[in-house]
């Protein structure tokens, strides 16, 4: 049985594992969205910044001990899956919703890095608190995304009506919303925070608390490459576990010197040889925290309360703080 499957597997995945390819190449190639504030956007010096970017930097830090060994390639929503399939990128770290059909279409989503949902941006002056009040309103959307489907389903199942105007890109959509063509602008909540910043008067617009869909964002990899899948998943878990254990970029050196708790010691590679199972060195998680930080560090730095975006932790808080981020133990 195994005998027969071997060639099939070899056809599906690359002949050589992705990790080996990345190591041989000397850098990681990471597909990002390239225009979503706080998630992936080049700053004025051309340096890529954001939560999605940090995830790839963490991968590079774990593999090479150097977060700079990543090449970022912006991917449109139309081209992203082709780019992954063709081997143009090693990992797709972009606001991509994990769905069954995508998972079965020769892709894998090892881990959910960000829990999102479809939300609404409306004018404060409308005094709206719930999505239901948008009955009979006009809503602007970007076309070709799941937002179109979610919106139609949500309004129909509640017996509400709405008028829709769709545009090909986010600039046109926001422009139409801002100039009064629509009452609301609907897309993933995480993007709405950035879009609100692009309006002339961000404080005149508000993002409704309610979300009408589940949008679990997950990095995408090619199917049939289990070692790479493990590495991608555990890179995220290491950042979560580090936050839970209280290890941050600021105190990691000190913790490494004076760690007493076995949990912390295992994460920092002082006890056991857990990194070797991933094809890495024992200090792999330490490298991630030293160069990139834990999940909370990355979140606060890119999208948190101190940034202009001010995205609340919400579902992305640790499990013991009311959120959904839960890392399996490193042991």
């Amino acid at each position: 049985m195994l005998f027969c499957m071997a060639p099939a597997l070899a056809q599906n995945g690359p002949a050589q594992g992705t990790l080996a390819q990345v190591k041989a190449r000397g850098h990681l190639v990471c597909g990002v969205s390239g225009g979503v504030a706080g998630f992936s956007i080049p700053d004025s010096q051309g340096q890529w910044r954001g939560l999605d970017v940090d995830f790839c930097r963490a991968l590079a830090a774990a593999i090479f001990d150097d977060p700079a060994k990543v090449r970022f390639i912006p991917q449109s929503s139309a081209a992203r899956f082709t780019a992954l399939q063709s081997g143009e990128i090693d990992v797709l770290s972009r606001n991509t919703t994990w769905t069954l059909s995508r998972d079965t279409a020769a892709m894998n989503f090892p881990v959910i890095t960000f829990y999102d949902g479809q939300g609404f941006l409306v004018r404060k002056s409308l005094n709206i608190a719930s999505v239901k009040q948008l009955d009979r309103a006009t809503i602007c959307l970007q076309q070709g995304t799941t937002t179109e489907l979610n919106l139609a389903d949500w309004f129909r199942t509640r017996g509400l009506t709405y008028k829709v105007v769709t545009f090909a890109n986010s600039e046109q959509t926001l422009g139409a919303y801002e100039s009064g063509r629509c009452d609301a602008y609907s897309t993933d909540k995480s993007s709405l925070y950035g879009e609100r910043l692009k309006t002339a008067h961000p404080d005149e617009h508000v993002i409704l608390d309610e979300a009408i869909s589940k949008e679990p964002f997950a990095p995408g990899i090619r199917q049939g490459d289990d070692p790479w899948r493990d590495l991608v998943a555990w890179t995220h878990y290491a950042m979560i576990d580090a936050e839970e254990a209280g290890i941050s970029q600021a105190n990691v050196e000190e913790m490494r010197r004076s760690a007493l708790s076995p949990d912390v010691k295992r994460i920092l590679g002082l006890e056991g040889k857990y990194g070797e199972g991933l094809g890495l060195t024992t200090d792999w998680a330490y490298r991630i925290i030293r160069h990139v930080g834990n999940y909370g560090d990355s979140f606060e730095r890119n999208v948190g309360a101190q940034t202009p975006l001010k995205i609340p932790r919400g579902l992305n808080a640790l499990w013991n703080q009311g959120g959904l981020q839960y890392g399996p133990p490193i042991r």
Binding site: S86, E171, G175, L197, K198, A200, P202
Partner: protein, 377 residues
């Protein structure tokens, strides 16, 4: 078909009034009849209403300097505000080069200078050695420009990813690539369509009619999603290259039809005379037929180039940072939000495109008149 048969005699008309002098001129040109007089008054009224508004918006009430959109808000400036030229001034580098690194901007500048040289050499009919000019414009210049813009680390030019190119630079790149590819390809296709070999003729005709039958935007979509599919697995196509391929193929079909029109004006006797002189088919084509055909087709070629230049704006729809897209991106800058920003941005863009296209159209008209002068003898 409608017919007209006069059945009654027309009443004789009054003799014409004065035809000389300023009054006569006015009567002839402005008030030749009642309807004409009314038209004149209507247009004068329209102009008296519209011109002051345009003048006030574009010049008198315009804001020329300022560091942010505040300068262009009437409530801040304390006066009615027209066009916000300060916005254009602030964004001009971004509009010209996109995100091209500031330290390397001499490279696009040099490329544009080379382009001017190539264009001048080709378009000035009395220029010396125009055959060398064609070689320069269609072979040497594209290579130099590519090395300059994309960079060649071995020559000491750091490479600049195409993702950083933008603004008018990208508009020029798209237009120039379209022209440089479509002209030779168009000539080949035109010859192919007139070929006596059935396979060549059918293939050329199918190619031309296909591209002319579909809208450019569908071609660009196709290039974007299907080009990567058609190539073997490990080859990836640069994001800027995809629409370039689409535009080049699209333009060559239109170019082919213009060139074919030129070829049709060359009398068959010319080719027969060339054959009688012992010229081979290729020689007669190169030395006798094509020079005459291209000369006749030149105004049409320039008109196709104008169309191509206007069509480059469509690449903004498939996400390429051409002039229109960086203009829209600049317009969305919250720092520069003011009521007159959209109108300012579009007025500026219209002026830019108008200058280029009108200039080319004038050139085409000039060539046409020169050729007509030869015919009139």
């Amino acid at each position: 078909m409608q017919r007209f048969i006069r059945v009654d005699l027309v009443a004789s008309r009054a003799p014409p009034a004065a035809v000389g002098g300023p009054l006569g001129w006015m009567r002839r040109n402005l008030f030749s009849s009642l309807a004409n007089g009314l038209t004149t008054l209507l247009i004068l009224g329209l102009l008296a209403w519209a011109l002051p508004i345009a003048l006030r918006f574009l010049v008198l009430d315009a804001v020329w300097t300022g560091a942010s959109g505040d300068a262009c808000r009437p409530e801040v400036a304390g006066r009615p505000v027209g066009a916000c030229w300060a916005f254009i001034a602030d964004k001009i580098n971004y509009l010209a080069y996109g995100s091209y690194p500031a330290a390397e901007r001499w490279r696009p500048n040099l490329a544009v200078a080379l382009l001017a040289l190539a264009a001048g050499w080709m378009l000035w009919l009395g220029a010396p050695r125009r055959d060398l000019g064609a070689l320069f414009a269609f072979v040497a210049f594209p290579v130099c420009a590519y090395l300059l813009l994309a960079g060649a680390p071995s020559l000491g030019l750091p490479s600049v990813a195409t993702g950083l190119w933008g603004g008018f630079l990208v508009t020029m790149v798209v237009a120039v690539v379209g022209i440089v590819v479509s002209l030779p390809l168009g000539i080949l296709l035109a010859l192919g369509r007139r070929s006596t070999l059935p396979v060549v003729r059918v293939l050329s005709t199918a190619f031309i009619e296909f591209w002319r039958g579909v809208p450019l935007i569908t071609v660009l979509f196709m290039a974007n999603v299907m080009l990567p599919l058609f190539l073997p697995g490990d080859i990836t196509v640069d994001r800027l290259l995809r629409p370039l391929v689409g535009i080049a193929l699209f333009a060559s079909a239109y170019m082919a039809e213009v060139v074919r029109g030129g070829l049709q004006t060359v009398p068959k006797g010319q080719q027969e005379a060339a054959a009688a002189l012992g010229l081979s088919q290729a020689q007669s084509l190169r030395l006798v037929v094509l020079p005459q055909a291209l000369k006749v087709a030149l105004p049409g070629i320039v008109n196709t180039i104008i169309g191509l230049f206007k069509d480059t704006t469509l690449v903004s729809i498939v996400g390429i940072s051409d002039f229109i897209r960086v203009l829209e991106a600049s317009r969305a800058d919250p720092r520069w939000s003011a009521a007159t920003i959209p109108a300012t941005a579009y007025a500026f863009a219209a002026l830019v495109y108008f200058t280029v296209c009108f200039g080319m159209a004038r050139y085409a008209g000039f060539i046409e008149r020169r050729l007509a002068a030869g015919e009139r003898r």
